[in-house]
């Protein structure tokens, strides 16, 4: 039920027969998960929040970079260095206090995808790489969730709805992963194009929830911003491909999507647990612990800079460029984000990530408390 304040707030929705009070209540009781808070995720999230989608999930492991700001319109200049998921949550909550927003500031993986997807009605793919797109597609099939797809390249965008009422999936459109396709980071992208495509994704998600209009399922829209042209292509469902994903549910959690997409493991800027232990003995490194202050083990005997990833900008002056920096966290994921950030934003040259984090140190029997 909508309260009087909500009825007033959503008045222009309520005036239309196609939505009305019952439609607005549908939006209120619905939930959408947006994967990736980038160029596509930002505009999609803003419209979903404004429209009154009752529960919105945002997942992104990355931090706000200055080079994101020309298209990622949820963020402000003073938020550079903050967690994208947290910054997005805070901004969206200010935009609309009547909805619930959940932020997940970690990476979507095969291990957490199914559980996360099962908590939401509609999934929005606003990611920026093939590996995650195939993962998201397969997890949507396995959890039977409609998936709103969007993708951009320079001045051109693609939008479609997958896995909707027996419609096709991403794999029916692109069965084989593409290799050597440059990303936005490498070739650039028109900021406003992300706004157009991300907003189209929000539009499809809202129609799915409301049950109105013709859903963009079985069709791929291609938009060329330079020519102001759109092309609509029909896509057929490939039952065999979808059935195969369903049958391999058991191996989903161990499938290597990076390998499938030809992405080699990035072993640069990494340090193994054994090399780390040696460096510690020789006292040749400085350690930067990006975990939150409440996290265990506390590592009281280890001399380290302790500033959570969220506040990485505050750590810069405490880190010496003259000495090798090893960044650590619980399992090596947040520390990897920190290493990438320190290199790309602040030009640190001698900074590495402890592979596997403190968990793998403990597995080797290393005792931090002596």
């Amino acid at each position: 039920m909508l309260n009087p304040k909500e009825k007033y707030r959503y008045d222009r929705h309520l005036r239309m027969d196609e939505i009305g009070e019952s439609g607005q209540e549908k939006l209120k009781s619905s939930s959408v998960l947006v994967i990736g808070v980038g160029g596509l995720g930002c505009p999609a999230l803003m419209y979903l929040a404004a429209a009154g989608v009752g529960k919105i999930g945002v997942i992104d492991f990355d931090l706000v970079h200055e080079t994101n700001l020309h298209r990622q319109i949820l963020f402000t200049t003073d938020e550079v260095g903050k967690s994208k998921a947290i910054a997005a949550r805070d901004r969206l909550q200010k935009m609309n206090p009547f909805i619930e927003i959940e932020a997940f500031s970690y990476k979507l993986t095969n291990q957490n995808a199914l559980e996360l997807f099962s908590k939401f009605d509609v999934i929005i793919d606003a990611t920026d790489n093939f590996s995650t797109r195939y993962l998201v597609n397969d997890a949507s099939i396995l959890t039977e969730k409609p998936l709103v797809y969007g993708s951009v390249y320079k001045f051109e965008g693609q939008v479609s709805v997958f896995n909707y009422k027996n419609g096709p999936s991403y794999r029916c459109l692109f069965p084989d992963p593409a290799r050597n396709i440059p990303s936005c980071e490498e070739v650039g992208v028109l900021g406003v194009l992300c706004g157009i495509i991300g907003t189209k994704q929000a539009n499809e998600a809202l129609k799915i929830i409301l049950g109105i209009g013709n859903i963009l399922s079985g069709r791929l829209e291609i938009y060329k911003s330079l020519n102001a042209e759109s092309l609509m292509l029909k896509i057929k469902r490939n039952d065999e491909v979808i059935q195969l994903i369903r049958e391999t549910k058991a191996s989903f959690e161990t499938f290597d999507y990076d390998l499938f997409c030809g992405i080699e493991k990035d072993s640069s800027n990494e340090i193994s647990t054994s090399d780390f232990v040696n460096d510690l003995k020789q006292n040749s490194i400085q350690v930067y612990d990006v975990r939150e202050n409440w996290e265990e083990p506390k590592l009281v005997y280890l001399d380290s800079v302790k500033i959570p990833l969220e506040k990485i900008e505050e750590a810069i002056q405490s880190l010496s460029r003259a000495k090798k920096i090893v960044v650590i966290c619980q399992n090596g994921s947040r520390s990897k984000t920190a290493v990438d950030y320190l290199i790309s934003k602040h030009n640190f040259e001698n900074v590495v990530n402890l592979t596997g984090g403190i968990s793998s140190m403990e597995k080797t029997g290393f005792n931090f408390n002596s």
């Binding site: 160029g39 993708s151 390249y153 459109l173 396709i181 936005c184 609509m232 292509l233 896509i235």
Partner: protein
């Protein structure tokens, strides 16, 4: 027959044009169309793309037998 061929994304960059008309004397298979195109544009050799004929994605043994619109559609993952 005359095929109006449209190129998208990085395929357009590889062939250095967005669209062109290509004439064929007789009906051709999708496979022949692709290999002829690679002869004209060697840069397409290992390119990944889907083909739509008259706005419909086609695969396998499709036969092109009349004037039509063809689109070469590469995947891209930016976001």
């Amino acid at each position: 027959m005359i095929l109006n061929v449209q190129y998208f994304g990085m395929i357009a960059e590889k062939v250095k044009c967005e669209s062109e008309k290509i004439e064929f004397e007789k009906s051709i298979s999708l496979a022949t169309f692709k290999s002829d195109l690679i002869k004209k544009y060697p840069a397409l050799q290992n390119a990944n793309y889907q083909i739509a004929v008259d706005q419909e994605l086609v695969t396998g043994n499709f036969q092109i037998d009349k004037d039509c619109e063809i689109a070469l559609l590469p995947p891209f993952a930016g976001g």
